[in-house]
Amino acid sequence: MTDIRVPTLGESVTEATIGKWFKKAGDAVAVDEPLVELETDKVTIEVPAPAAGVLSEIAAKDGDTVAVGALLGQIKEGAGGAKPATAAATATGSPDKKTGTTAPIKAGEEEVKARGQDKPEAATPKPSGDMPLAPSVRKLSAESGVDAATVPGSGKDGRVTKGDLMAAIERAASAPTPVGQPAAAVQVRAPSPADDAAREERVKMTRLRQTIARRLKDAQNTAAMLTTFNEVDMKPVMDLRAQYKDLFEKKHGVKLGFMGFFVRACVQALKEIPAVNAEIDGADIIYKNYYHVGIAVGTEKGLVVPVVRDCDRKSLAEIEKNITDFGRRARDGALKIEEMQGGTFTITNGGIYGSLMSTPILNAPQSGILGMHKIQERPVAHDGKIEIRPMMYLALSYDHRIVDGREAVTFLVRVKENLEDPARIVLDL
């Protein structure tokens, strides 16, 4: 019997939600075959089978929240097929496989039940599907808005008792600020009229959605956030692109987009205005002399922000390659957690959806985020003449606690200048 446990999920990630089991109890599985999808704050990962055999038991069902190291299920090893999961490690480094963080780890002793610990637990009857809630729990859940599915149960087979839910409500209420909990989960929702209630649909927020909600609200509650605007004439960059895009693609195997220019323009501005690349830690300011730029990517499940590392040392082509790769893998849900950590500044592009103007929210604990927007032909005065130019509004939201207004405006002006005269990027002006 081999345990399937929640693998280590990367720094600061302690729990995950079961997204979906690909196998049912009783199914035969091969070593490394994906068994179950886990949603974490940052990514969705697949847990591979640590051994070949038969999936004998599923201990955590879809939607359950599980801690790192918790038991997910067990594999009863089939004749001759059993091998420990060392194979998972060999796959690390292959970008398309998500095995780097998914090697099963052994849980501590405390995971083992006191009773029957020297006996296999496989035959313990487990409820197969839905466990209806106790009537008191149903009522309290409806009244408080606290989803009983998010509350760890102490009753038989992990059922949530009235006491469990009351404790959860109390915890939620006594949290220092509402940001301690996913904001939506503690809101008390007034019951809808029966007629309307029937036409409502209650859907559990995914882990990713809850994290997005919490982090955005965190940022708003913490930073003294405000936004400064500017606009950029995109003609020079567009001309440059038009001139070299074929050559560039031929040489580097990647399309020449706008994003690389923006990243380079920002890095140059960040070097000049270090406060925008800094963060607050208690009473200190930490200036970061490295430039890891997060690129916000919209996916079906929500927003993810993979980070292009050391942008100051990367060529435009390398940056473009990174971004293209991230975009593809973000859509496939195949980003690794460490690829989304450690950013110092973020760029978000609402323009791809047509946004003309917006005020982005900081990606805490960063102090600046650049909002790109739609390129739109507008009449602008140029050298005393009205010309039609491809214009884009730029927005910089910043944390006024450490970034002064002058710095913020200067930063954005530098970005504008760098883009309107790409030679500055080359010459490092």
């Binding site: 009773r115 006996k119 035959a123 313990t124 106790a134 009753g155 059922r159 008792t161 009235k162 009351m166």
Partner: protein, 466 residues
Amino acid sequence: MSYDLIVIGTGPGGYVCAIRAAQLGMKVAVVEKRATHGGTCLNIGCIPSKALLHASELFEEAGHAFAKMGIGVSKPKLDLKQMLVFKDEAVEGNTKGVEFLLKKNKVDAVHGTGRIAAAGKVEVKGADGKSQTLETKNIVIATGSDVARLKGIEIDEKRIVSSTGALTLEKVPEKMLVIGAGVIGLELGSVWRRLGAEVTVVEFLDGVLPGMDSEVRKQSQRLFEKQGMVFRLGAKVTAVDASGKRLKASIEPTKGGAAETIEADVVLVSIGRVPYTDGLGLKEAGVALDERGRVKTDAHYATNVPGIYAIGDVITGPMLAHKAEDEGMAVAEILAGQAGHVNYDVIPNVVYTYPEIASVGKSEDELKAANVAYNVGKFPFTANGRAKANQKTEGFVKILADAKTDRVLGVHIVGADAGNMIAEAAVAMEFSASAEDIARTCHAHPTLPEAVKEAALAVEKRAIHM
């Protein structure tokens, strides 16, 4: 040939263990020294006493309650001989049932007295004196318990009887002295009182039903007294003189003071039961006993000798058939590699008197002693529609729930059919239900269990019918 499991004793613990083990694919034999299966419970305990309690209750009702309901009958005449036949039929039906179940599950039944020769070896000595030795991987000791005796009082099962003799009295005693106001004394005392005996119950402690909830004990005692039972509490019987035509029992107050003599035709010794391990060869096999003579087991019912297990009355815990049954199933599952388990916090306890007295979980006294904050919800049967219709309004339902979490910690019922009603409470507690969960569960009307729901409502001080 070797068995996977031999169970010694086919009481409720033993036969259930054997059947469960057979269901799980083991090759099983049972050893039983009685001619019939079922142990104390089926032969000389639960079942025959319930037959007599049922018959005597109807006898009393026919004599006292029928006229009020408009049923005209002449004064009922007791045919004790036939009543005992009725009881014997109940025993026969049940023991035959066990025999059938063992056969159906292909469990080999070996009759004779079992002795553990060594781990893996059980020697069975038949009634004909011949011995055979059976080999097995595992042994479960399920030999149960025997009547506890009082020093200086010789049980002859004719005039000085244990529960066994009290089930077969040839005539109704004029005066009956019951020693011990526990479950057995009150049940069998009730039987003979209903059939016409003057019953005096002597109890060493200061109240009836030691160990149960104080309020339940007090109310029960009042009800029994109203029925005509006489209690001598805080007293002990030091000797019974059987030389004369009538027995003469010497009774002394436990606090000291003058002894007195009470005459009786029958004395029932019902001071409890002791684990039964005589002749099992435990000492030779090296199986350790505790200070009270019970077989010592770990949480998996294993004794200190590998391959030897024990369950039921012969180990620690309440001496109840259903506790033994659950342990029997658990040990069979453990032997099959499963996670067998008994929840000792949720074992119901029933006294089959009228009214019945049933409880599960903690008493108020236990909660107070453990310093647990709790809420009480109580509902009397006088306010229950069905009880009123039946004019059986004695008693109440009491639910004790955690003050903070509302989780049900204990349920105590005094009333007609309490023994059946307690099952609902046990299921609720097994699932860690709150009092509100019971209150929000629809109960059929008009039924006695509505009182359980009302008591659950009363925990939150919102009973409707009170």
